[in-house]
Every structure is written in structure tokens, then in C-alpha cells.
Symmetry: C2
Subunit: 396 residues, 2 copies
């Protein structure tokens, strides 16, 4: 079981690429990474900045790629493995678009016949540059590209083609590491959203889930200490597993965090402990990567308020209560791993599924009632339950 | 009379800020600047990249500001003075927007109560950092911000307030150098365009004009060797002078160039010689700054085709015919300056003026007929001619 953090550099956030060569910055990164490793975590997830790495469609800056490799090595020196996200794209409410994709040069990021090949060269270049680093874990296409759909309308078929194309580029450049993709929770909860559960659960080497308690207003609806909130990550993992076609499909809880006021600061530590305890009962879990390593410095303005306090660490690298809670869970898990639960019952999710599966939906609430009763149900799609092939009791 | 070039770095174009600290880049800049100085030019105009300098609304990167100062000093070492444009903003068809002004954070660049103060801090910071450099000429707010109007709707009154606010910031930070602003030709030619001739001709320390032969389809309409094309810069300077309220107002031909196919490459040298000979007859001219120093490297894709060949120099710093022509004119002008023409007649420009003054407009063509007859008419607004205050014959 892998435990890590989404890295948010304490001094410059991900604008750090602009100052990677500025004196003192590498030392700051080293201190951050040491502090993350000090929590007992084994990996970080890091994020390239697309406009900085590929400022022109024809140019991927060699210096930027070298700096990314250097960051991976700095993490290695701290004892951390590294997963890399390529196309940002979207981070913490901000969209980073190269100038060649906006205004007079606006072209759809998912379908344009000039943009997609350029993205392909980009992910191929990163995959090729990183593959020989011993502490490199793999490439994720980009953080929640489904946030970009609002400004780049696209169909599910087009998303599928885009994912297939870019994932194939990663695998071609580096068959030895997993290539993955991810999406924010609309993928599971929103009927008609063009990033589909099937795409999440079948494309790429793992299913990546980001079970945020603000999605579908889960924490506001049920309360920060509710069964619904503390079992949310477990639920989303089981929901994602229902859509997998490969029974051995692995799931990565790539983002989970305690955003105030959805989770009040005083509840963050217990939220972390309970959420981790529950999700660790899931079968086929690769690991959990907390969002995020460091609080966002208040001199960086315009972030949504909840983004500022998500760190396990403060910007001075001191450990927060939630950091201690995660570190404690990780230490306990290392010495006595949680047993995978026998999921002896499976709840059937009718079709169309997504609204039913969202917080407030009938299926979500039925599953949570079972959880409140101490059960750990699996999820099975009605389309599969109906053909009798899978009842899935005790499948794990 | 000042002669210069709009600098376009031969190796990285203005993406050079991303690689300013990359080994070898400064040497490339030095070679570029030496080649520009080798043409006999005395200054360059350089361009900051807003998203690189101010990646977050609350952060102006000290390293970026230091690099800008360093660029000014490198130019000084080559014997060149430097004018600096702050808010890019728009360059050669590309718009560079910080992430805090787009998509989920979209806010009007000209009117938003959080964005404008942040721009104010930015221009004030640059003005303050540059003011003690002995070869520094002054700050221009940004290159043709009226290109941003399409995506940031704004009224003329709002533009006026924006210009007043930002120019005042520059002057407060550095009263000793001129603060200016500029606009593309719509300002003179397009009825209702919110950047007005009055704003160009009265705000800031000089009137900056960009008489491009593709504006209003001038070169296509009249032919590349036509009177209309070779007198265009002279015409626009006189047109701008008509809107000035201060008779001592100085005009800067801040951009002029020979874009193919509007000006075929074989005609570029003669276009440059004729255009410069004509515009140098204008009174109150600060100088002429050619667009641009260097061709754009073909590895940089997506530029409009005409942007690739606008340099006086190739990307290997070899001199093009048009570069020799400009250098020759500059050398001749240094030894025997062109006499300012006595403009003994003034053509009255009726109101509303802008469509009439554009290529194809009745006033434009009347002025050009006089020019074809060897006259050098001034321009006077009907609103001023009517009150009898100014007939302006022989005002120069």
C-alpha cells in the first residue's frame, strides 16, 4: 500500500517552474520534500505547467524537461517516489493554457487536429525523459482535464479517442511504467458528462479517483462527521470498481483531502483517520495520495478559500494536526496493514447510474445506510447483474 | 531623430523570459543586440511577458524584474537604449493572459476592480526598477492593448480611465522618463473603437503610432509601391497630430514594417527607404522603431505567415536587404537630416472622422491625391477648423 502527497511547493506553488533556477529555490524544494518524507509518506505527485513547458506548439523546452527530471531526483534524494502529471491544464481552480490555444488561436484541446498531436509529443517527451529515473512511478496525463470541458466542448466519444491517443503515446515511449488519467467527480456523478465512468475504469493502467467531500455537496448535505463523509472514499473506490471490466483492475485514490469549511479544521484529523481506515478495506488499492503536502501561501491570492488550508504541512514545514493524523495512520498501516474487507453483499446500481450514485442520489444513500449498519457492500452495475454473470457477493 | 528596432530574440522570441537563465541564452541575446547595433540603430523596444512576470495577482517575480533590468544592461553594453513594454498582453497574434484573468477567473482587464490595481502595481514595479538605468528610455503600458478589447468589452470612457490610471502610476514611480501607450490602427480607422484618437494623441508623454500597411487593407487596395503605401506612415503621423491638443506633442512611429505578401520581399527595401524618407518630413517626430529586429524562427509555429519575415536580420544575425536599406537611411540621416516639411495646406477631416480617414475612405484618398501631386498636407479636424482657431496652413 502506497501513501503519498500531492506536492504543492511551499514557496511558489506550481509557479515554481518559473523560478526553478532562481537561487535558493532548490533548497526550499529540498526542505519541502524532506518534510513530506518525515511524515512517513513514500511518494509525491507533481505537476508540470503546460504553458511553461510548451510555450509554442512547436517547442517543448529542454530546460523545463531537465528541471522536471531534477525535481524527480530531488524527491529521490529525500526518499520519495514521484508520479508526474503532464498537461496542466487545471490546478486548484486555475486553468493554464498556452497562448497558442486561446483567443485568436483558440482550438479545442480535445479534438483539434493540430493541438492533439502537439499534446502527444509533449506527453511522449516527458515519458521518455523520466522512464530511467529509479524513483519514477509513472505519468498521469494531466490533473482533472474534465475541468477544461466547459471551455472546450467535447463528446464522450471524442474524450475516449483523446485518452486512447495520449495514453498510447505514453506507453509507446515507456512501456515499463503505468500511464494513467484522472477526472474530478463529475465523471461518477453527472449524467451526460463526457468523461465517463467506463473511461476512468478501463483506460490507462489504473483507475484514479478523487473523492472530494465538496462534490455533490456531500459534506454540507450529511455533515462533516457523517458516515457519508467518512465512507466517501471507500464508496467511490467501490463505485469505480463496479465499472471495471478487468477484475484485477487497480484503483488509486489519487486525491483526498479535508477542505474547510466542508471539513472544519478541528475535524480534519479525525476525518483523515476515519476515511483512511475505511478506504483501506477496499481490494485492489494501489495507494492513497493526500491533497496536499503544503498549505498555499497567503501572498498567492485568488485561490478559492478552501485551497489555502489543505496541507499536511504549513508553509514553514511545520506539521499540522491532519499531517500528524495521516502520519500516524501510515505508521500503523506499515506495521499492521488493514485487512481487505470481504464484501459479502453487492448493491445493484440501476442505469442510468450517475445521478443515482451521486451524494443525495438513491443509490448513494442506500449504500451509505448499509455502511452505517456496519456492512461493506460492493457495487454492481445493473447491466451486469441482469445478465447473471456476476452477483459479486464475496468477489474480494 | 531616434532609429531603432522592436527586438524579437532570434532564438526564443519573447518566450525567452522562460529561458533567460538557461546556459547560452544570454550570449545569444548579446549577439542579437550587437547585430542590431551594427545596423546603426540606437535603441530597441522590448516586451515583458505578463503571465511570466506576474503569475499570480499577488506576485511580481523579483527574478523576472531583475532579468528585465539585465536585458536593458545587455542592450546598453551593445550601445543601445531601451524602451520597455509592460503588459503583454498581445504580441504577433498571441495573447498572453495570466491564469488569474481567464476561464474560472475571467475578469475584465480594463475595468475589474481587482485586476486594474494589480496592473498598476506591475507597471509601477517595472518603472521603479528601470528608472536608474542610464540607457532606459521609458515605459509603454503594453503592446496594442486594444487587441484585447474583443475578449474584454470596454467603453471609451473605461479605456480612458484605465490609461489615465496606469500612466499616472508610471509617472509617480518615475517622473523622469516618458510613460506612453499605444494601439493598433483601429484607433484611427474604426468608428466606435473604444481606444480613441484623442486618447492616443493626448494621454502619455508621446503619441505612438503603428502604421501597418495591412490595416484597412492599404497595400492590397493600392499596391505595394503606391503613394498610399509609401506615404502611409507620414499620413498617420499627420492624422495623429490633428488630434493633439498640445502643439508641441511629439509622435513616435513605434512600429513600422514590411509584411509580405502585402509588401513583397523584393519591394521591402524600397518600401523602407520611401516610407522613412516621407515620414521624416513630419514635424515633432521622436523617432522610428522598425518592426522588427529578427525574423521568427520557423521552429516556432502558429504565427501568421507574415510575422516570420519581418526582421531586418535573419535568425543567424545576417543582414537582409531591408536591413541594409534601413541602415543606409539611418546613416544618411545621421549625416544629413531630412528637413521638416512646411505643410502649407491642411485638409479638413470631417466628423465622424474614423471611417473617412481609413484606407478606402474619402479623406484618406483626398490626402493621398495631394501627396501624389507632391504636396505635404497637414490634417485638421473639422471641429477645430470650424471654430476658426486653426486653419493650420504652415503650422509646422
Amino acid at each position: 500500500m502506497r501513501f503519498g502527497a500531492n506536492y504543492t511547493p511551499s514557496q511558489h506553488w506550481w509557479h515554481v517552474w518559473l523560478d526553478f533556477d532562481t537561487p535558493g529555490v532548490l533548497d526550499g524544494i529540498r526542505r519541502d520534500l524532506d518534510a513530506i518524507a518525515g511524515l512517513g509518506l513514500d511518494h509525491v505527485r507533481v505537476f508540470a505547467s503546460w504553458p511553461v513547458f510548451q510555450p509554442n506548439r512547436g517547442v517543448i523546452r529542454p530546460r523545463a524537461v531537465a528541471q522536471l527530471v531534477e525535481l524527480v531526483r530531488l524527491a529521490g534524494a529525500a526518499g520519495l517516489d514521484v508520479s508526474v502529471d503532464a498537461l496542466q491544464g487545471h490546478l486548484s481552480s486555475f486553468d493554464f493554457y498556452p497562448s497558442w490555444t486561446v483567443t485568436w488561436h483558440h482550438r479545442n484541446l480535445f479534438t483539434d487536429p493540430a493541438v492533439v498531436p502537439a499534446q502527444a509529443v509533449f506527453v511522449r517527451t516527458l515519458a521518455g525523459a523520466l522512464r530511467d529515473e529509479p524513483n519514477y512511478l509513472g505519468l498521469n496525463l494531466g490533473n482533472e482535464p474534465n475541468n477544461l470541458v466547459a471551455h472546450n466542448p467535447v463528446t464522450a466519444e471524442e474524450v475516449d479517442a483523446w485518452l486512447d491517443r495520449l495514453l498510447a503515446e505514453c506507453v509507446a515511449a515507456d512501456p515499463a511504467h503505468p500511464a494513467t488519467h484522472c477526472a474530478y467527480d463529475a465523471v461518477w456523478y453527472e449524467e451526460g458528462h463526457p468523461f465517463t465512468p467506463a473511461a476512468s475504469a478501463t483506460k490507462g493502467a489504473m483507475t484514479c479517483v478523487h473523492p472530494w467531500v465538496f462534490s455533490g455537496d456531500c459534506a454540507r448535505r450529511y455533515g462533516p462527521r457523517s458516515v457519508e463523509v467518512t465512507h466517501l472514499a471507500e464508496y467511490v473506490v467501490e463505485l469505480a470498481r463496479a465499472y471495471a471490466t478487468d477484475p484485477a483492475r487497480v484503483t488509486w485514490v489519487q486525491e483526498i483531502g479535508a477542505p474547510a469549511p466542508h471539513i472544519p479544521e478541528a475535524d480534519a484529523a479525525s476525518f483523515a483517520e476515519a476515511s483512511l481506515a475505511n478506504v483501506l478495506t477496499c481490494a485492489g488499492l494501489w495507494g492513497v495520495t493526500w491533497w496536499c503536502s503544503h498549505d498555499v501561501d497567503r501572498r498567492l491570492v485568488d485561490f478559492p478559500e478552501l485551497e489555502y488550508g489543505l496541507g499536511l504541512l504549513r508553509t514553514d514545514n511545520s506539521v499540522k494536526d491532519v499531517g500528524r493524523a495521516v502520519a500516524g495512520t501510515v505508521a500503523a498501516e506499515r506495521s499492521a496493514p488493514t485487512a481487505v474487507a470481504e464484501r459479502t453483499t453487492a448493491l445493484v446500481l440501476p442505469s442510468p447510474e450517475r445521478a443515482l450514485a451521486a451524494p443525495g442520489g438513491a443509490f448513494f444513500e442506500a449504500w451509505m445506510r448499509r455502511a452505517a449498519d456496519g456492512e461493506r457492500p460492493a457495487v454492481v452495475l445493473a447491466s451486469r447483474a441482469a445478465d447473471g454473470a456476476t452477483e459479486r457477493p464475496g468477489r474480494d
